[in-house]
Amino acid sequence: MSKTAQTDDGSVILDVRNLVTHFPVRSGVVKAVDDVSFTLHRGKTLCIVGESGSGKSVTARSILQIVDAPGRIVSGEIILHREDGTTTDLAGLNPRGKAIRQVRGRDIAMIFQEPMSSLSPVHTVGEQIMEVLRLHLKMDKAQARTRCIELLGQVEIPKPAEAIDRYTFEFSGGMRQRVMIAMALACNPHILIADEPTTALDVTTQAEIIDLIRRLQNDHGMAVIFITHDMGVVAEIADDVLVMFRGKVMEHGPVDQIFHAPKDDYTRMLIGSVLKLEEKAEIRLKRPPLDTTVEPVMTVKNLSMHFGSNLAVNDVSLHVLPGETLGIVGESGSGKTTMGRCLLRVYQPTAGEISYRRADGSMVDLVRADEGLLKDCRKEIRMIFQDPVGSLNPRMTVSQIIGEPLLVNHLCMGQELEERVVDLMEQVGLNPDWRERYPHAFSGGQRQRIGIARAIALNPRVVVADEATSALDVSLRSQMLDLMMNLQDKLNLSYVFISHDIGVIRYMCDRVAVMYKGKVVETGTADQVCNAPEHPYTQALLSAIPRPDPRARSMHKRHRYKV
């Protein structure tokens, strides 16, 4: 094995050279990883960033040769430098052979994005961790059990001696990810590959997991490859950054250079779109101040929603002014989505009232309105959903999807409907010539535009947007928000904008309500809540959000909210 100059100081642990991984598909070959080279140094953290489809995950999986079928490594070298001076080219090993299996889990361990589905639901946590110990370290049952309890303690799982016999679904998302980490650390690997380990978690949980990985990294001297699309996380933890786009490396360098002196256009665009969400939207800066003297279009009083004995929404009071964007921010389980659905009475609230002021000035209590009245009001209150794939019927053309609300409400048909659909598509920036295509022919961002067009088809007055940008890549997010704000100006819409992402809230919203365990703990203008929050929960929430600036790492200063 040849040694190059850069590996001579012995700090390089993994040397990836010209890696190419292909996925053969019916129409040819997808070059998921296209000539990627990088080095990883002992004890350092390399972040691989990129938007969906950039090949960052496949790169990581190629290292362990666990790329899903039919993907395979076509060429390149992945050289692992062990501490005893021996080297192995992982790319040259048989993916089912013994040699690569001894590297997996022992030299290089991996954790994954979805801590629920990445662990077996029918085996206990202990069983799954002990398996690694018994496989690689040849421990007997009793030894493995002792070590496993020790590991669970290291990742700060409460009562490890009891937790070892529990199943994954008995843990929360954050605890499951801790179990994954304990499993990965079982054999003291030299390299830990973390594939979006915090993406499915709340920000406060994310901060704890990142803390944990960092502490364990210091204790064990591991090198970490951290794959993420969140530039805030990158700025917080990375030593080096690899920016990928469509399978190729766009830029590779120290974290400070990537954020403060990016050389590549794509990197610049990526950083730019992240920084954009750190500020108020330009469109909003240009707007005249909102008239706060007018009567609210919607007033929620003491709204509660029980699911059995579980109080999902607890005595919530809010109001929305005409033309205003009200942000609802909170972590998973805070009741924000349930609250949003109550506004359209998708769920029947168990207490409280929602007074809605109709266009003619008459007031309607949506909680008690009869079916006919409710149907009329629902024409004026529409919804945009999080998942642009799941919320569009794959067997309907775009024209049918956008036209459906018009058709079911008998508002127009035939030629008139066609013209209205064309008009709506133009408004949301879609080419009307595409109206006979099916949703699968569109990208994620375009699909969300279809969802928006459908929501505004009936000229609504209030739109409830539930995590409307969460499934989109960061470069598309501000575009989508700008579109929504332009439509707001044009159609005088009010938005109830539900999100867990403070950046999106700051960019888009006039006022913000912070929800925690079903209650609104703080309401105020976006500036006040985002910059000078009053409630300790809001303060804790904001302190856990990583800032996209490696020179202002702040996560170690965060504090937790304890009731």
Binding site: D68, R101, Q102, M110, L119, P121, Y167
Partner: protein, 328 residues
């Protein structure tokens, strides 16, 4: 867990009362009764039965009483004395008739079941792991043939081959000389010699569908992230396959036990008739055709009770096998 089982068992009692009543009503539903059928049979051989004799017969069998009284007599007899009544046609207690046949059905069904699972599960796993390989296509092709061929046809073909080419005595489960013998070692050997034809026939269609189900179940599981996790741990392909996806793909099979038990009685009737097997199916059919009320009623009741017991067993096994059901 124990509370769950106790609750389920308690719930079975009202269900059993209802199904027992329903099954009694069901066998009463066709016009006429056993006597009518009996007279019709006699008339076919030119014997005439006058009305008095018919009524006498009805009185003797208790058929002249209102239905609810008949039901009450029937069900109390079963519950209190284990007495399922008398088969009109065979002039024997129903329980004697049934148990002998049920025992043989049990042997046949479980042998078939074991054969089916032993063949189908490995092939299904192989076919899923080697998806779209040449072998997968061959297996898929063969299993569709197995699904498509009617089992009675297969029974006729196999009987022909066995009789003509091997000179074997086919049909039934015993040779003539053992037919009415008490159980002995020789009789068991003789039975095993006869058992293979019905087992093959019944296993073919079962195996074919099971291969498809196993393949589909496993294909769903193979792409799950926990399989990748297991692979990233360094487990060998075979070990991780058996421990994780196969283990989870097998769970749905546990629920098939629920309809396996009632199949003991009513399944594979056609094959059993073609092969003249002394199992429960042909007897059930015969009793229904001759309106042999108590015999048919006992069978229908048995099917219902076995369905309930089967679902209870499969629920308990599922809870044991899957902690998500047990603990949530």
């Amino acid at each position: 867990m124990l509370r769950f089982i106790a609750k389920r068992v308690l719930w079975m009692i009202p269900s059993l009362v209802v199904v027992s009543f329903l099954s009694f009503v069901l066998i009463q539903l066709p016009p006429g009764d056993y006597v009518t059928t009996y007279i019709a049979t006699l008339a076919a051989s030119n014997e005439v039965v006058d009305i008095n004799t018919a009524n006498e017969l009805r009185a003797r069998f208790g058929l002249d009483q209102p239905m609810i009284v008949q039901y009450w007599k029937w069900i109390t007899g079963i519950v209190l004395h284990g007495d399922f009544g008398l088969s009109f046609e065979w002039q024997q207690p129903v329980s004697e008739l049934i148990w002998e046949r049920m025992a043989l059905t049990l042997v046949l069904t479980f042998t078939t079941l074991l054969a089916t699972w032993a063949i189908a599960l490995p092939i299904g796993i192989f076919s899923a792991v080697q998806k779209y390989s040449v072998m997968d296509y061959i297996v898929t092709f063969l299993s569709f043939i197995g699904l498509a061929v009617p089992s009675f046809l297969l029974a006729l073909v196999l009987m022909y081959i066995a009789a003509v080419h091997f000179g074997q005595d086919v049909g039934g489960l015993f040779s003539d000389r053992f037919m009415n013998e008490p159980w002995s070692f020789d009789k068991i050997v003789d039975m095993l010699g006869h058992l293979w034809i019905p087992v093959i026939i019944l296993a073919v269609s079962g195996t074919a569908s099971l291969i498809r189900v196993m393949r589909a179940n496993l294909l769903d599981e193979l792409s799950k992230p926990y399989v990748t996790t297991a692979r990233a741990k360094g487990l060998s392909e075979f070990h991780l396959l058996m421990k994780y996806p196969v283990r989870i793909a097998l769970n749905p099979f546990i629920s098939t036990i629920a309809w396996l038990l009632p199949n003991l009685v009513s399944g594979s009737i056609i094959v059993a008739i073609v092969l003249s097997l002394p199992t429960a199916g042909p007897l059930l059919l015969q009793s229904l055709m001759s309106q042999d009320m108590y015999l048919a009623g006992a069978f229908v009741l048995l099917i219902c009770a076995l369905t309930l017991v089967g679902s209870l067993i499969s629920d308990i096994l599922l809870a044991l096998a899957d902690p998500r059901i047990r603990l949530e």
